[in-house]
Symmetry: none
């Protein structure tokens, strides 16, 4: 479908809001109802009556999406055809401004024995503070002809970004995914990445030397070498001027890959701040992605009641979204995070699409089971994008 | 979708049952209700309340599946991309242990006139007993450098399997699909199959000589030359240890192509036997396909009441399935066989998926119309496999 959409897209003054409640939907809890069925969601329930509703599979039936694929899907990209490499996603996830031409790789601190064999691939899951303590050592490493950025992610995980001419992402992992063996040498997978593999091996050798007296993190493993994702931007695809508002760097990172301006990154701390930034920038953009994080967080915690409470807070925010009178408002989750499962899951996620040119499905509430009866059916997440565009009058007719 | 699944699959101790009622669903009969709506199905109806339900298209909307494609689809293979050739399916269908490297072809007995032109492409639909009488003649045929197996299928239909070095399946049919003309010569469609075409033509020439005084079956036509299907097995795709339990050889054959062990082939005669074999082997496998045949048989007979009665028997079996406490239980049909249509049909077939991590669709019954409202939506049959795997905790998250 996507290939014809850029030809049909037109610039208009209409405005779209994509409101994502991370991990919004769930599974029945102790009382036999899901989090969405348990929470009091007056705004979403009211919208479910006068909107088009359905269920989204972010990646495909039965597939549990990570946050990257889940958001790519809602942003209109098939996440299997447009996978963001682990290194690039890690860089985006901490807000590092990765650029086209950069190559990023995940670094895992590990523990090596005296023979250089891996004892623990995660260095005993060292705390983030220890990781931060080690970072100045890695930052000492200099290699001619390339800029190197090393950043802590969390616990034993870090990221390295190489910047320079003639780099390529086709370099193999040095993590052998096993213990009792030494780390691998970074292999050249495509000849155009030879320089990068050489740099990576030199970087790793120097890092090993600098870390050798540390404990337990006396070595590093690298994986997921990847470049700036080759996504076509919203400007190219849809002639949109898009913006993203999110408290967590990961979601900002993925949004930036799609061409969105990141608003309020240095100031927003909560949903009220996000809404204020949205209101302040309303005139400047025609597409807004706004992200509510804590529904997912409480789901991952396994706290059913707290997740339901977060849904209620997220619901309250809808009043301020509607007050802006968007031409199209989509409310969706990037994946399901059932409190009883305590993690992302594969279950389809409800979605509603509201606007003057949307149908009224007349559903009783915004829940998993009601949306299963909605007019949008169950569909791949990336097909939401053309629905939002058309509902805001931004797509021409196809063919005569 | 499939390409990412093998990377996500993990070996676990959890267990999956895929329970197939052949030709399960139907169309309204004289009373205005379908067979599923007419039958008393307490187990399935109870499950429909506490399971995820939907409708499956085994091949695609509007396509009537044969038994091979219908089962391939439920087994997780797109049956258009993974067609099992007619010869190989015929061999599997009679339980012949076809091997990689074999080439199988369908044989139809036909009637030729004195000039060698075809008068009847099915030899007056000779009874199976006549076919069996002729088989020793075909088995007399010896050709150097190749083993030849000839087996009766049914009525005028038989199958020949060539086994030897350097055979290939790319040989054209000798059935011209017309009368008043002679049979075709078996043509080489790819050069690597030249030896096979030569053997086939020699086999056919000798068969014609041996049959020339018979009546009405004084000749043969061959079609559907095909090799062992190149399916990736469940072991390769999903890290499963799968088993199949079915009374009919055809279903065992297709299951074997997917890598399933065939249990109880020499002993089971009815569903009770099938369930006993399942119970006896419960600890040894993590995926079980169990097949109930007679819903389809009575549908093909056009006997509405008898089909409803078979559904009731099939429903009763569910108690013993649930007693095993599978982590995921899918109940499905491989296609629809409406008694009023007396044959396989193209209509979507209900499916339910039950387990601790499945949603509760709260449907009133397991029927065609209720399942149309289920949360799984209407989907291609091969997407059931990742749903079963995830529901049993056997797929990792995709992407970070």
């Amino acid at each position: 479908m996507l290939p014809i959409i850029p030809e049909l897209a037109k610039k208009t003054g209409s405005k779209i809001i994509l409101y994502v409640m991370d991990g919004m939907s769930g599974l029945p809890g102790p009382g036999g109802k899901t989090e969405m069925e348990t929470a009091n969601l007056p705004n979403m329930d009211r919208l479910a009556r006068i909107s088009e509703c359905g269920l989204i599979d972010p990646v495909g039936r039965g597939i549990t999406p990570g946050s990257g694929p889940g958001h790519l899907s809602l942003f209109g990209y098939n996440p299997v055809e447009n996978l963001i490499g682990r290194g690039a996603l890690a860089a985006a996830g901490i807000g590092f401004p990765i650029q086209p031409g950069d190559v990023a790789a995940r670094i895992n601190f590990c523990t090596l024995d005296e023979k250089g064999n891996i004892v623990d691939r995660r260095a005993g899951r060292i705390p983030t503070e220890k990781n931060q303590e080690l970072m100045p050592k890695l930052r000492e490493i200099k290699i001619p002809d390339v800029e190197i950025f090393c950043e802590t992610v969390r616990e034993y995980r870090s990221v390295v970004i190489f910047r320079g001419e003639g780099l390529g992402p086709d370099v193999g992992d040095t993590d052998p995914q096993a213990t009792g063996v030494p780390p691998l040498t970074a292999m050249v997978l495509e000849y155009a990445s030879k320089k990068t593999a050489d740099i990576a091996n030199e970087f790793i050798e120097k890092a090993m030397e600098l870390l050798k007296d540390e404990s337990p993190a006396n070595g590093i493993l690298t994986r997921g070498y990847s470049g700036y994702p080759e996504l076509q931007t919203y400007q190219e695809l849809y002639k949109l001027t898009p913006a993203a508002i999110a408290t967590y760097p990961m979601y900002r990172g993925v949004a930036r890959f799609a061409g969105m301006d990141i608003l309020g990154a240095d100031t927003i701390e909560n949903m009220d701040d996000e809404l204020s930034v949205l209101e302040a920038n309303w005139e400047k953009y025609d597409f807004f992605f706004i992200h509510y994080k804590y529904t997912d967080s409480r789901g991952e915690d396994g706290d059913f009641e707290a997740k339901a409470a977060e849904l209620e807070k997220a619901d309250a925010a809808i009043e301020r979204l509607l007050a802006l009178e968007p031409d199209a408002l989509a409310v969706a989750g990037d994946h399901t995070t059932p409190a009883v499962w305590k993690a992302h899951s594969w279950h389809a996620s409800p979605v509603l699409l509201h606007g003057a040119w949307c149908r009224h499905d007349n559903l009783a509430a915004f829940t998993e089971n009601e949306c299963a009866r909605g007019s949008l059916g169950r569909f791949p997440g990336w097909e939401l994008m053309p629905l939002m565009l058309s509902s805001a009058g931004k797509l021409e007719k196809y063919g005569a």
